[in-house]
């Protein structure tokens, strides 16, 4: 099939591609000019399509790359064998964890079930394509209010799609988050995260090397699914997005399960030089990225690609985003050995081309050359734009909002119940019940605690995983908000006894071509990278999603942090529910300054109502500044917490996040089905003490006779310990400055908290 370089077909192509055609594909006039410059001629239709998709923000990161460099600097600064740069986090014993998070926002908005399902499939392929066995899935979700039937429909089907895919492939879905806010109406966020385990000396490469080596196409046949899905993800969802529906991709989790087993088995043959999944931009991405990485060229014949539909053009084959496909570079002569592994698992595996001594990706249709492109120009040379930034107008206004104007509620019980009924705070059991979170029999901490944990077979260790972000904070201050996302994730890990090791992120924003949106993006990434350095947690992978806005609404900046932590001894972990009547309840808080000795001030500070769930739910106000964050105090708190858990001094730990101290205590009581009697002193209003969201605080419970031991440790770390009361009976009683403000049976508050989401979903409210 091989033709001499520069075969006629391409050479003859001197006709320009019509302006409206490449624009419709998403290429700007300048970018088209750049393509012509690279090729030294006008591109073919196939070629222009390949450039359009590879140079889209989704694949080419043409807008975000300059900002994302912030993450790289720190990673490269780290010494060690550079595992982090390969996206692997070392957990000792020769083992590493691979993790990544990715959005499927736009596909999910169009077809929630398949959109979410294929999101899970895509992220799983990112994991096992490195040779790692997927051991966990998480997901971070954002929807508009559940009072709107369409949002309900999206929520229902996104969760069903995640369950459908994750449950079938047999990877436990062990955690995540769900938040509801009007700003996500019409812009739901669906972030799928996965983690895999790998022997650190068995990491697979994604390079196409070795002239003559075969290019093996593996997995599902190619159809017209999601053609231009990648560019689709890089344009605003307009009213015409309905008409883009042919872009929907259908997932086949059964096929994926076979692909996981077969790929891991094939890699063991040692004959696979490189391997990459084919997700966004399909074969185009798979071929040019592996070739560019391997500094080689590649020749493939689209006629050899297994098809699901008849009459597909080379353009369609190269751009199809059909799911459950991989591209493997296999040692010459070993094709059959490798293919037989895939065939054993019932997967098709065919040679569609080979590596050539050149820097070109050459695509043939039979003996016709239809594309001839320098691999690097597609993979690495996407134009980079340094977009303008401008501080958004709304900020001054929200900052100047006078929080002291907020009246105290008449009835604090009512306030508590309103918060418990708020879907963002309410129990997420409705969600995680639908996920198999136990398969693979490693789940030591199930969904429902601050973080989930998996024991690592063959060691005493366990890993803990979380996903966190408070979009409202990021809206009020993207820099601090992003820092808090990192801090809360690490705090959630510390609450189960895990030390934070590494981060993956998945950040969603509006249209980056708007300076005020790009300012939010830049500030958030700056905040996140600073916090990650402070916690010593490199960002090993990530994903950016822009254009999460409709003509009528834009989302809050939502930089979601996925974090991995390590528990040295699985037996020595901690969970968030109260365990024994009579246990002491205490609040551990990182003192705001190392010198600060007044522990009460740790309970609350004047402006702690800023950006709280309380303000939103009770007063429908989103204003103020997010609670202050003292990174050093936060770190000392985590160190102390991890140590007291390791020593086995405490019975439970739960951090104060959305809803503040009152919610933390209430949740621990509900999970443990035990009452609590606490009293706090506060120099600010009771609402601040109860519902303020001051950072660096964790509610713990412990046997009275452990108090001394625990104090020693927390003092050592200069962490404040305030005794709040005790676990007792079956009522929740909270007093502020000696006045009883909350007194309710745990059973009642539990009911409200547990039923909030199911009742809405089943139309009972």
């Amino acid at each position: 099939m091989i033709k001499e370089p520069g075969s006629k077909v391409v050479d003859k192509n001197t006709l320009p591609i019509p302006t409206d055609v490449y624009r419709e594909m998403g290429l700007s006039d300048e970018e088209y000019k750049k393509v012509v410059g690279v090729l030294g001629r006008h591109p073919t239709y196939t070629e222009v399509g390949m450039y359009a998709v590879m140079w889209s923000e989704h694949c080419g990161y043409k807008y975000s790359r300059p900002v994302l460099r912030l993450f790289k600097k720190y990673k490269e600064a780290l010494d060690g064998e550079g595992l982090e740069n390969a996206g692997v986090i070392d957990i000792g014993d020769g083992l590493g964890i691979v993790m990544k998070m990715e959005t499927h926002n736009h596909p999910s908005a169009v077809e929630p079930f398949q959109g979410a399902a294929t999101g899970v499939g895509g992220i799983l392929r990112d994991i096992f394509t490195m040779g790692a066995r997927p051991i966990a899935c998480l997901n971070s979700l954002r929807f508009g209010s559940l009072d709107d039937p369409h949002n309900k429909y999206l929520f229902e089907n996104v969760v069903a799609g995640i369950a459908h895919y994750g449950n079938c492939v047999g990877v436990p879905t062990i955690g995540g988050e769900v938040v509801f806010d009007e700003c996500y109406s019409g812009n739901c966020l669906v972030n799928a995260m996965s983690a895999g385990i790998i022997k650190t000396d068995e990491i697979a490469s994604a390079c196409a090397k070795g002239v003559g080596n075969a290019v093996l196409y593996v997995g599902s046949r190619t159809g017209c699914d999601g053609i231009h899905g990648a560019t689709f993800a890089s344009v605003e969802l307009g009213p015409d997005s309905e008409s883009r529906r042919p872009n929907v991709q259908i997932g086949d989790p059964f096929q994926e399960k076979l692909l996981i087993e077969a790929t891991l088995e094939a890699l063991k043959t040692g004959c696979v030089v490189g391997i990459q999944d084919m997700g966004a931009a399909g074969i185009t991405c798979g071929s040019c990225e592996t070739a560019a990485k391997g500094r080689s060229g590649m020749e493939i014949d689209v006629l050899k690609v297994p098809r699901r539909q008849e009459g597909m053009t080379p353009y369609e084959v190269m751009l199809s985003e059909s799911q459950e496909r991989m591209l493997a570079i296999v040692e010459k002569g070993k094709e059959d050995e490798v293919a037989s592994v895939f065939k054993k698992w019932g997967l098709s595996a065919v040679v569609i081309g080979h590596v050539i001594d050149s820097d070109l990706v050459r695509v043939f249709e039979g003996d016709q050359l239809v594309a001839e492109i320098p691999a690097k120009s597609l993979a690495d040379d996407a134009p980079t734009y340094y977009l303008e930034t401008e501080e958004p107008d709304y900020l001054a206004e929200v900052r100047d909002f006078d929080l002291s104007k907020i009246p105290e509620p008449k009835d604090y019980n009512e306030a508590l119940e309103k918060l418990l009924a708020s879907p963002s705070i309410a129990s997420k059991e409705w969600v995680y019940r639908q996920y198999d979170h136990m398969v693979q029999t490693n789940t030591a901490i199930m969904p429902g605690s601050d973080a989930a944990a998996l024991r690592i077979r063959g060691t005493k260790k366990a890993i803990a995983l979380v996903a966190d972000c408070n979009g409202r904070y990021c809206y009020l201050d993207p820099f601090v908000g992003a820092q808090i996302a990192v801090a809360e994730a690490a705090r959630n890990l510390a609450c189960v006894g895990a030390k934070a090791l590494g981060v993956t992120d998945c950040v969603s924003f509006g249209n980056p071509e708007k300076p005020q949106v790009f300012w939010q993006f830049k500030r958030a990434i700056e905040g996140m990278s600073e916090a990650c350095e402070a916690f010593g947690t490199p960002v090993v992978s990530g994903n950016v999603s822009f254009y999460n806005e409709t003509p009528v609404s834009a989302i809050y900046p939502t930089p979601v942090v996925g974090m991995l932590g390590l528990i040295e001894d699985t037996e020595k972990h901690c969970t968030s529910e109260f365990k024994h009547d009579g246990d002491v309840i205490a609040l551990l808080s990182g003192k705001r300054a190392a010198s600060d000795t007044d522990s009460d001030s740790a309970v609350c500070a004047a402006n702690d109502l800023g950006g709280t769930e309380y303000l939103k739910v009770m007063h429908n106000v989103v204003a103020g500044t997010p609670p202050a964050l003292d990174m050093d105090a936060e770190k000392r708190l985590h160190a102390a917490l991890i140590e007291v858990i390791k020593e086995g001094y405490i019975s439970s730990a739960h951090d104060c996040s959305d809803g503040g101290l009152a919610l933390a205590v209430t949740e621990s009581a509900i999970y443990g089905n035990l009452g609590a009697e606490i009293s706090v002193t506060s120099d600010c209003g009771a609402s601040v003490a109860l519902f303020g969201e001051a950072q660096s605080r964790v509610v713990v419970s412990l046997p009275p006779d452990m108090l001394g031991e625990m104090r020693e440790i927390v003092d050592k770390h200069n962490v404040a310990c305030t005794i709040l009361g005790k676990v007792h009976g079956d009522r929740l009683k909270i007093a502020v400055n000696g006045v009883n403000v909350i007194d309710k049976p745990v059973e009642r508050v539990a009911k409200i908290w547990k039923n909030a989401i199911p009742d809405r979903m089943e139309g009972r409210v």
Partner: protein, 229 residues
């Protein structure tokens, strides 16, 4: 006792069952590929949970025709022990090695959670290590675990003591509230007339270590080992 764990395309609890037998019960165990018709001398064959063939068309409908199932049929006919867990239970029903069928949960949704199970007939290879009135804490994870059959069959299996496990509350009381999926008579597990073939929707292999929440599943697997002696 030698165990064999069948691996169908789409099985995903095969390794869990394998580890439970090897690491916790300390019994010899091997995987059996669905294309083989040799059970490698297994005394007890486990059809594991998962989504064999993606659960497409009907759960267990396609796996039933795997070559290995002929060997399983013969093994069962000779009185050999066979247990189907979750998807394995569904396969055994499709293969008519067990009566009845499993249809969609009445709630239609997938449910993953710990449930309580009351062992019914304690005089079987699968339950004799359990205690009267005890409530076993074992997880379920399925979307189609709703056991159904015609009234005559139901009468029969009840009369013959072929119902070995029922969904109950933590006190061992069988009630409608304790029925997670709509199964007739809260049925969670049954055996064939001879008792050598068992099927259950809950996952005993997931409940064999305290660190994972419960080790009540050991009773089930120990039972068959000691019964065979």
């Amino acid at each position: 006792m030698k165990f064999g764990v069948v691996v169908f395309p789409g099985s995903n609890c095969d390794q869990d069952a394998y580890y439970a037998v090897r690491d916790v019960l300390k019994q010899p165990v091997e995987y059996i590929w669905h294309q083989d018709n040799d059970l490698k001398g297994s005394d007890c064959v486990i059809l594991p949970g998962g989504f064999s063939y993606g659960d497409y068309l009907r759960t267990g409908a396609v796996a039933r025709f795997s070559p290995v199932m002929e060997a399983v049929q013969q093994h069962a006919a000779k009185g050999g022990y066979v247990i189907g867990i979750c998807n394995g239970f569904q396969i055994l029903c499709e293969a008519h090695l067990l009566p009845g069928a499993l249809v969609a949960n009445t709630g239609l949704k997938f449910i993953c959670k710990y449930v309580n199970l009351r062992p019914e007939n304690l005089n079987t290879p699968w339950t004799h290590k359990c205690n009267e009135g005890q409530a076993l804490r074992i997880p379920i994870a399925h979307q189609g675990g709703n056991y159904t059959c015609d009234p005559e069959t139901l009468q029969q299996i009840e009369d013959n003591g072929q119902v070995i496990l029922r969904y109950c509350d933590e006190r061992g009381v069988v009630s409608a509230e304790a029925n997670p999926n709509g199964s007739l008579n809260n049925i969670a597990g049954i055996i064939n007339e001879k008792g050598n073939v068992a099927g259950m929707m809950p996952h005993p292999e997931r409940a064999v270590e305290k660190i994972l929440g419960s080790d009540d599943g050991v009773a089930i697997l120990r039972s068959v080992i000691e019964w065979a002696g």
